[in-house]
Symmetry: C2
Subunit: 421 residues, 2 copies
Amino acid sequence: MQTGDRNDAIGVGVIGLGRAFTLMLPTWVQDERVRLVAAVDPRIQACEQFRNDLGGATYDTVGELCTDPAVEAVYIASPHQFHAKQMEIVAAAGKAILVEKPLAITLEECFRIVQIVDTTQVPVIVGHSHSFDGPVLHAATLLSQGRFGDVRMAHALNYTNFLYRPRRPEELDTAQGGGVVFSQAAHQVDTIRILMGGMVESVRAHTGRWDSSRPTEGAYSALLSFQGGAFASLTYNGYGHYNSNELMGHVDEMGYERQTSAFDYTRGALSMVDETSETRLKQARNFGGDDYRREMPASTPHHQHFGHILVSADKADIKLTTKGLDIYQGGSRSFVATPKSSVPRAEVVDELWAVVREGMEPLHGARWARATMEVCFAILESARTGNDIRLRFQVALSRKLCPRPDKGSHSGTKQKKNPGS
Amino acid sequence: MQTGDRNDAIGVGVIGLGRAFTLMLPTWVQDERVRLVAAVDPRIQACEQFRNDLGGATYDTVGELCTDPAVEAVYIASPHQFHAKQMEIVAAAGKAILVEKPLAITLEECFRIVQIVDTTQVPVIVGHSHSFDGPVLHAATLLSQGRFGDVRMAHALNYTNFLYRPRRPEELDTAQGGGVVFSQAAHQVDTIRILMGGMVESVRAHTGRWDSSRPTEGAYSALLSFQGGAFASLTYNGYGHYNSNELMGHVDEMGYERQTSAFDYTRGALSMVDETSETRLKQARNFGGDDYRREMPASTPHHQHFGHILVSADKADIKLTTKGLDIYQGGSRSFVATPKSSVPRAEVVDELWAVVREGMEPLHGARWARATMEVCFAILESARTGNDIRLRFQVALSRKLCPRPDKGSHSGTKQKKNPGS
Ligand SMILES: NC(=O)c1ccc[n+]([C@@H]2O[C@H](COP(=O)([O-])OP(=O)(O)OC[C@H]3O[C@@H](n4cnc5c(N)ncnc54)[C@H](O)[C@@H]3O)[C@@H](O)[C@H]2O)c1
Ligand SMILES: NC(=O)c1ccc[n+]([C@@H]2O[C@H](COP(=O)([O-])OP(=O)(O)OC[C@H]3O[C@@H](n4cnc5c(N)ncnc54)[C@H](O)[C@@H]3O)[C@@H](O)[C@H]2O)c1
């Protein structure tokens, strides 16, 4: 399976050149530990741009992509509903997998994936998700070392305009994986599980479906209990009024400072647009689209984030910021910076490298991600039935966390000299 | 029952000259619609100071206080466990009642109180609580008028050092009404009920008891659902690390700007102090205590508050601030100031005046407060049993809310010319 040498950049094949790929592109082209070599996407324009701008090969099918010997690892960034099937094909070809969250859209699919992974023994990482954000891993490391005593509770809040950004039809249909639980709780739950050690015991939740023109979940509040008695409260609202970036120093999810907290899209903006046009609108601003500008602005001093997050341990409360950790004791704050690469989302490549080149267990493996999705499914079920849902397939953090190396170390990010080539 | 004329200041008798009274004192002495005339407290020093500084009579028993013809309304600010019994005596004497939150410490007591109120027909208001804060009533007024469409969800968060302030032994014993659920959820739940219309349907909650030297609830997270499908997430942590005043512009609960968010007392500070000494420590800084300084600093431009509160309706999200309401639509914020009296907590006197002088129904009546306590009891029960608790004794807002008059109106606050005399 490992075709490269221990120090060669990992050859990455991509399935799906849409929004997720567009957001990961700065990472792929700037991090010298990876190089894009191939892609599959039904959109001809995107394939063309991939060949022209990035110099990689494009294929018609996932099966063909997997025969390309330059492809060591496959980044699956297609819509949710394709993840399970495509993982099966890639795993059968023996390639390592980085698959976008959510892992899959039913628990059955998640089980099938775990089985495939067990059988084929291919390395699997589920991400990017915001649980890769530097300050999340940093806080989880300190907490899991017991630095602040027992971890007791967490609180997470995020208010965005998720529901009103241009969407594919599936993204507005819960049965097909639409709504904020599949796409956003997958981030928030994963993050809180990493901070709290992973073992969720029960879930109670309410969801909101408040706009009949976008008939899927646009908001939720969930209460999670953890093994040992800790608990967490998670709240997400994607209806596009309050913008919780104001709690994060007006830095947006991607780590950029914003002059304004006004949303690009809000309720009603897309109400005159039909499904097909809306899908086109979504595609236009992504790779291969008419309005696409490669987003590789000057490096930002900020980590990416997923809203306001507080974790309480016996000896301190920790607030995650876009630069590191605010540690509160007795109301007084001290700040600990989280080392940051100039490459955004370098933490994803850290894990890919550790798994593919160094044979380590993934932190965000298939069982881990199944457990996160079990919580997401429980949020929907609890909201529907009014019951407390007990969880059965949780797993604890599978390996010791270690903070990303500050600089200079062998496995640390090195930025390419000529990114984009 | 009404001994005064329609425009006379209401004569107030006080039961319990401790912390709560100390915090209300600026209101009693500055608001010209009320005057302190009598008090009962087992602490001789406090009674002495009451006579000397405030010129009122003091009595040995509640029964005697109630025979004082100058007493029109009685403010019950004794420890929780005395509220029910003392209300019974006061109601039998036909005096109006303002009783501190929590109404009582068992649902049975709450029922008995409602029965007494029904029988005697005395006016009852339960407060002060932070649901009287100007911005809460202002937001509730706009929301209940349907100004922003259907109300969908709310979120409340408060992190303090509640557990580490000097306490009486009962305050650290849940069975006697100790811990943050009785003393702090009583504020937070009341506030959220007013904003959401009152009718809670179900409660799921977790509580934290994480310091064996203070063996009562120091934290909770609760999920409330409301009639019609709205929901709210409430989180409170009183363990004294993070200080959520930083989300309120560093304005504290009482409306004062603070240079520092460091807490006066934190974990361990009282660990060498025995129960009796700790009770004395609590008393020392209150009325009649050795370290008491009458807290009547220059008027503040800020309303009091109980942490960070967001309410979402279809057409807007509202964030309560210490000066009014931030109203968000599409991420853009507009601000609406909430009129503020120079007398702190004038809203309590507004309601007392409306009820005693104008014969209006209280907003914070006994049934209303019983419903708030039903939610608090459900928080404890849900945390203990792991179940979702259905509520049975909820009541909707009993009268149309109206914002407090801006100025000059007949029933608006007028500050005394010579406060403290
Ligand atoms: N981690 C993140 O920050 C993030 C952000 C956005 C999306 N995502 C995830 O990425 C995935 C894709 O979402 P998106 O928003 O990029 O969607 P998208 O519609 O923008 O992109 C999907 C792309 O996949 C292509 N595609 C469709 N069917 C395909 C198939 N069968 N095989 C190969 N390619 C196919 C489409 O043409 C399109 O280019 C989702 O699972 C989503 O949850 C993650
Ligand atoms: N609304 C608020 O902001 C607020 C703040 C603090 C307390 N409170 C409420 O006020 C009540 C009292 O709490 P506290 O913190 O002031 O307690 P405290 O101990 O500071 O004061 C209680 C006072 O009542 C006196 N007392 C004790 N037993 C009495 C009795 N049987 N009859 C008459 N007086 C008696 C005590 O001597 C003391 O002076 C509680 O119900 C509490 O929840 C409300």
